[in-house]
Every structure is written in C-alpha cells, then in structure tokens.
Symmetry: C2
Amino acid sequence: MTEMSKYAIGVDYGTLSGRALLVDCETGEELASSVFNYPHAVMDEELPSGKKLGHDWALQDPGDYLEVLSRTIPDVLEKSHVSPDDIIGIGTDFTACTLIPVKADGTPLCFLDEYKDEPHAYVKLWKHHAAQDKANLLNDIAGKRSEPWLANYGGKISSEWAIPKIWQILDEAPAVYEAADRFVEAADWIIWQLTGTETRNSCTAGYKEMWNKKSGYPTKDFFASLDPRLKNVVDDKLSCDILPLGSKAGEVTAKAAALTGLKAGTAVAVGNVDAHVCVPAVGIDGPGKMLAIMGTSTCHMLMGEKEVQVPGMCGVTEDGILPGYLGYEAGQSCVGDHFAWFIDNCVPASYYGQAEAAGVSIFAYLRKKAEAQRPGESGLLALDWWNGNRSVLVDVDLTGMMLGMTLQTKPEEMYRALIEATAYGTRMIIENYREHGVPVEEFYASGGISQKDPMTMQIYADVLGMPIKIAGSLQGPALGSAIFGAVAAGKEKGGFESIFEGARLLGSVKDTVYNPIPENAAVYDKLFAEYRILHDYFGRGMNDVMKRLKEIKKEM
Amino acid sequence: MTEMSKYAIGVDYGTLSGRALLVDCETGEELASSVFNYPHAVMDEELPSGKKLGHDWALQDPGDYLEVLSRTIPDVLEKSHVSPDDIIGIGTDFTACTLIPVKADGTPLCFLDEYKDEPHAYVKLWKHHAAQDKANLLNDIAGKRSEPWLANYGGKISSEWAIPKIWQILDEAPAVYEAADRFVEAADWIIWQLTGTETRNSCTAGYKEMWNKKSGYPTKDFFASLDPRLKNVVDDKLSCDILPLGSKAGEVTAKAAALTGLKAGTAVAVGNVDAHVCVPAVGIDGPGKMLAIMGTSTCHMLMGEKEVQVPGMCGVTEDGILPGYLGYEAGQSCVGDHFAWFIDNCVPASYYGQAEAAGVSIFAYLRKKAEAQRPGESGLLALDWWNGNRSVLVDVDLTGMMLGMTLQTKPEEMYRALIEATAYGTRMIIENYREHGVPVEEFYASGGISQKDPMTMQIYADVLGMPIKIAGSLQGPALGSAIFGAVAAGKEKGGFESIFEGARLLGSVKDTVYNPIPENAAVYDKLFAEYRILHDYFGRGMNDVMKRLKEIKKEM
C-alpha cells in the first residue's frame, strides 16, 4: 500500500438508473455515492420521435449511459473531496444481455441521424422479449442438431440473450444488421467509451453470447442452420477475443477524462454484470459459496472447480464470476413479485382497516400475522411458479399452485405459504447442484429482501438448513465494481493483486447471521419432501395440466 | 275433485325457524305463509339454566317445535281466510338426524323437571358433532366386521346420525339412556304430537338410523360389539315398524286441533326430511331426475329403480324419497361456503372501493367481473374441498387446491374458478352414479343459489352439459310437505291419489331453464377431464399430501 489512501469507483448500471460509489481501498469505507435516472428510462411503447414499438419491446438510449458517467462521477468526487489523482481504478457493471448495434468506432447506430427513427438501431434492454419466436426456433433447431453447448444453459436459450435479439434485427431490419459493424453488450460498450478500445468480458460472452472458453462459439454451420445470413455472425459482428473477469481493459482516455473528471490513465476493469459483480462484494472468494440476490426475482451465483452440465441451470461459464473458476448461475423468476401480487390481489379490506388502526403498513401488518405462525401450522403448501420456473425445470409455461386450504384458512397463512414456496424453490436449486456434484456449502444473501425482511430470511435458513449471511453493503453491485476497478489498478498502484484479495479485504457481511432453528428445520424437511413430489409431478411431465390449461387459455 | 277448493298445509322445520305454507290443492296457489323463529334457536354454548355445553354440541328445545304449530298454522288460516273445514291434510318436514329422547307417551325427557339441567335430555340437532369419536369407532368396528350395510352409506356412517348420538348418551349419561323409552327423530316426534300415535318414516330410518327395507337394522351382535348395553337398542328404543313416505300417519287429535286451529280428523302425512321433501315440489315423479338443493352446501336427491351400492354416496334407501323407488342421496359439504370464504378472505380493498363507487354490493361487483370471463380464459383450476369431500371420496381430511395462477391472475378469476370447481364436483357425483348403473337424465336445482345466482347456474349447465330447471316455489320444503299432506288426505277428500300425482299437479319449475351453451360445454369438458385427474390423484391415494399436511398441522 502507498502511504496515502487510494480509492476506487464502481458504477452500477441498473434498469432505470446508474449509480456511482467511491470506496476507500484500504478500509472499505463508502465515502460517497450518486444516482442518475436515465432520462429515456425504458422505451416500451414508442421512440422519442413518437414511432410506436411492438408488443414486448424494451429499448434504451445509450446516451443515457454516458450521462451517468458525466454526472455521477464528478458528483462523488465532489462529495468525497477525493482528488482524481487518488482514484486508482474504475469498474462497472450492467444489466445483461443488453445489446447495442454500433459502428466500428463504437458509435451506436441510433446516434446517427439516418437511424434516429429506427427501433432496431437502439439498445435492446435485457427485458426486450420480442425475440421469443426466434429463441423458440433456435432451441428447436439446436435440440434437433444435438448441439453440445445447449446443456451448458440448462437445455434452453432465453429470448433475452444475444443471438435471438440479433436474429430479430436481421429478420425485421436487415439494413440495420448490415450497417452494424458490431453487436456489443452495453457492459462492454461502456468500457469502450472509457478506454477507447473494444474489449469483451467472459461473463456476458459466456452467459449471454453462448461462448465457451474451451470450445468457443457455436459453429458456423449451426448459425447457418438458423439463417444462412448468420453464418459468419461471430467473425463479422462479435469477437473471439474474450477477457476473463478481473482483467484490466485499459485506461481512461483523455476524452473520457474530460467527460468524467477522472484522470487520464486511470485503470479500467473489463465489463461485468450486475448480479455477478455482487459476489466479491460479500467476500466470496472461492467455490461452494452461493450468493442469492433476492428481490422481485432471485439470482443465484455459485462457483465450482469443474465444469458440470447441471440440468436446469441458467448457465455455466469459465471465468464467468471470478477468474479461474466455473461460474454457475441459476434463478427464480418470481420471488418478491409473488408477495406483491398477493398484497395487491388477495388481502381483504378488513386487514387494511386493522393495519391503519394499528398505524402500520399493510406489509408490516401481514408480516406480523405471518410471523406468529409456526412451520406446518397452516397445512398449506404452494409451488412458486406464478411466473414460471427459471431453474431446475426451466419452463415458462408452469404456473402457480396452492393446496391445503380450508374454510378456516387466513390470508396471512397463504402469504406465508408463498414465502415458504420460494424457499423450497431455492432448496431445489441447491439440491440439484449437489446431486450433480457441484458443492454448495455456504449461503449468502443480498438484495432488498435480505435487508428488509428478517422473517423471510429466517424461513429461508430453516428451509435450507443452512446459516444465511447477509451482504454488508446496501450497494452490492457498485461495491463489487469498485473492487474490480482496484484489481485493474493492481497492487503497485494501491489496489489489489487479485479479485480474491479484493473480496477478502473489501467484501463484507453483516454481524447478524440467520441460523436454522432445529425444530423448524425438521418440519420444513417434511414439507420440502412434499414440495418435491409436487414439483416433479407438475413439472416433469407426469401431469402437464398447467400447460394444457395455458393452451386452453390461448385458444379462448 | 269436490266442488269447493280444498287446501293442504305444509310445515317446514329448519335449523332456526319453522314455516307453514297453505296451498290450494287444485291450482297450487300459495295462499299464505308464516314463519316463527325458535325462541331457543340453537343451544351450542349453554342450556337455559346456564349449564355449559361441551365443544361441538348443538341442542334444541322441542317446545319450540310445538310453538311453531300453535303460531304459524292459526296465522296462515287467518291470512288466507280458508276455513279449517277445507284443510284436508297436513305434512311436515324436518332437519335430520335431529334426535329426541322421550318417554313412552312421547314426552321429551327435557320437559320433565328432573332433567331440565341435563344436556343429554334435550334434542340433539343434526349438526351436533360431539359424537365424532363414537362415529369413528363405529366405522372402525363395522369395517373390521365387514358389515354389509356399510356400503349403502358410501362406506361411512356420519357422526350426525342416530347411533353415534345415542351411543354418546349411553356413554356420558347412562341414566338418560335408561330413562328414555324411545329415541325418536324430531321428524317423527312432531307427527306423534299431531296424531297421538308413534310412527316412523322410511326416510330418516333408512338414511339416519341404518335401517334397510329388506334387511332391517344391523344385527344385535353388531350393536353388542359397540357396547354390550346397546345390544337391544333397536327393540328397546327404536322401532321396526317403518312407514314408506307418502303414507298417512293418522289424523289430527282433539288436543292437536286445539293447539293448531285445525279440525280434529284432518289427515297427517308421515314425517319427512327437508331436503327429500323438495323432490315432488319441483315435479319430480320418478327415477333419473336429480334435484340439487344448493346453499352453503349442496344435497343431491335422485331416485333409481334398483338398489346399487354406489361407492361414495351418502346413502341409498328404499322409499327414501318417493315410495316404490330407491332414494339415493349425495352431497357437497362446501358450496356457498366456498364463495363466502373467498369474499371474506381474498377480495382486495380496492374492489370494495370500486363496488361502493359503482353503488353495488361486493358480491354483485365480483360476480359482474366473473361473468365477463369466458370458460378456460383464466387458466385456473380448483378442487372444491375447502370443507372436505362428502360424496364420491367421502373424506373429511381432503383440503382445497387451486392451480394455474400467474402474476396476472385477478381475484374474480379465482372466484369463478371456485364456482366452477363446485360444478365439477357435482359432475363427478353424476358421473359416479352413471358409471355404477344409476341413470341421471335430468337436473333440477332449488335453494338460495338456484334462485339468486344466474351466473353460477349457467356455469353448472355448461359444466354438466345438461339443461337445469329451477324450482318454481321459493318455499320448496313447505310446498313438498303440503303435497304429502294432500296425499295423506287421499283422492276422495280432494287430495291426491299418490305423491306422483301430487308432484305432477303441484310441483313446478320456473319458465327460465339454463341450457348448456355448446361452445362453453366443449371447453368445460376439457377442464373437467383435468379436474378428474387431479381429483383422483389427490383423492384416491396416489398422493396423500393433503392428509400428511393435516397430520403435520396437528403435530404443531
């Protein structure tokens, strides 16, 4: 370490805003943070020109990302009174797959006048779902061809990922496809803006672009089988030069220095993804430690030492989370969303009245009632599939189920049953890993629910039968990015030798640990056994009633 | 017919009140009715003396039944301006099994000073459930002994029926058992009060006292196996002299004439049960025509030409509905109760606000939203077991289930799914009959839901694929009783030759018939096939999760 304190900045690009965080590399102190909401937010109905978008579209304007840099970085510098001379590195993380068609110099097509009114020239945000038919066709073709990489993604490519999105552009706007010299993840594009050089990171390449460190991309033959015009999509529009996470992408250019107030030459880490970057922020530095980022949905990050094709996982990517390890990703597509749905649709008027009389929010009132219940006391059991099943079964057509209701069943019992169901869903993911030889020995949680909902966290500890450690920082992604920024700077400049060192020194968890209560865990073992039977019955083809009901629904 | 109009009176004894109806035997015109609420209502906490009752008790005071006679009959005579000379007959119907311990002259033990403070001396109302342990033991013993009559009751005797109730008295108050010369159904006791003679009717004897026209009661050996002191219960306390429905029990005595204002000598029909007596009131005069009495729960009445032991039915009794036919009874223990539970527990505050703004009740508001949906549109499917399953599966430990929920699911969709589930439950009962050789060719409905809820009735028509005829009278039981009264009087006195003639002449349905809409019925055929799979999976032992959850619940 140098004599003077050194600092790093992390910038976290979310769905609606970007946030910068300035961190002391020695103490981990978070000196200042700054948020900027994207002026164009998510464009899902029309372009600024008024041009209408189709169903399931979700676009962004990359100019908003640059404005995050020009606004939040000067702001944290000012607030913290830290000199740009002492900022040794910057790291960033982004939503993914969030894809931009650009010219060879990195200029987004939508910045050019001729494409201002062309929807396909804009950023396709991760939740742009209008390429679902392309994803279906891709999965169908890949399945028939027995493509070996398919199993790395749990057997299914999502419509959110790069190739379906690129294929949609080719199909619906071939001129845009032609005009785009590159298709680049926003995660990498923002690094390009800072360093002046195109780089690609192993995380988005592996999870979203179907790249594999050992075998590369799918073959030209495969891409040609989708559409002959896609045959050379990798050579022409992507990149085979993929950097592992924890690498230095380059240094802040003079132009970027003018934009941000950073010093030219400041180290810049390769791009990263918002969920993955949280892992070092809680101090995870090796395999067997799962991080669950719990919010409206949940992402599960886990590292392993060997590549296993675990059925039903979102993806496995070498160097995908931390360099040198296989990064496994899984997810539950509906967690907090379940609880919000229940509050909106199933809580009787009388409860609102009682909550008001007690001077508490309806959430607090319902949670208090749910907290008073003991495991198994309600006789209820639910399957947490209100928004399909993302991992283990990987089936968007599955739907919710609840059983055990009687005339005495109360709303708070159903509410708790939904919470428990999401915990069983997490346990299914963990057991699925273990059964396929990927150890899960510790459990960490970050995200809103982990910070705000002790009852839910205790239920998770009891259901999983594992202690749960909670992220120490409220700004996990930005902290993770700052750590990567300090790694890019390197030890000599006052940063870290490796991301592992950074994780150990700056990653943190709270003092409060949720430990399983043995008598609760024993009951939940029994209930989970019941969940599992129903999970397999409804989810593995023994009774496809949920899908048949969806078919009937579609017909109506 | 005589020159002058002749009239009959029906008296319907419900759970909380008695109602008399005066009917023109030629035109069917309902000239007057009168209701009297029982002063003691249901005693489920204490006796009038203040003596506390145990859990699940439900008693009544038989003095209230006499007061119904002395108040309502004079009232309908006065309102209608009909002379007692022109009242040719009276019929009554009662809840069952509602059981009274009496002396040899018919005096209830609770009328005697020495028993005023003895709970077991009072009427045990149908919903007195404190003999459940006796019923369990009885079923256990009967099952082990392979008693042949058990199958006539779908394999299970209810705790509501006579023998468990009598056994409870013997066990808990042997002196009351000793002092009681007879145990008599309230249905028969009220006739005894009118005619001065003890008679017993085939309906309660068959459905509630385990009597069979061909084989009589269970053997002394069986009763002794329950408790040696019960060996001669039939000879000592019941009666083997059972009259078929449609018989004349006797004539109004001078004492009863003084009580009621009727003329001594007026014909009196044998006792009857509230649900069964509705059958002729809708004009049903033979086999294959099911009547569903739809309220908080539903009773299904059906006649057949041969005795079939249909698995899962509540009972089959010769002459149990109309003389000469096998009367089949089935039921759904939770129908309107489902909808009330949903309204109480699952309708969000916002809907109450919108209903108020629209100036309609929450029921009407929810129904309007549910009506706008097409079959299958919600993707939801439920099992209607919030209060167990009474028929086909006969299992109180089954619980409710719903599946197909998504984040877009609305309360009105779940509400409609519950209504549909009860319709599927009815269809299961019908198909179960058909599969065992008991035809169901027509469908009639009476009771509150049939009168007030056209949406539900249309759903039933669509699900059953049968037209549904609706009871013409709002006072079905009292009308049915009046018809039986006119049958007891006989043709010469201006009444009817038989109950069949009475049913044809005075029974009525509304002009409105709910006809199945073919495109809805086609969708419901598909949905019912799914219901049936789940019904069997959860209900027939393939996955006893509901019972295991109840076990866990009990342990907590």
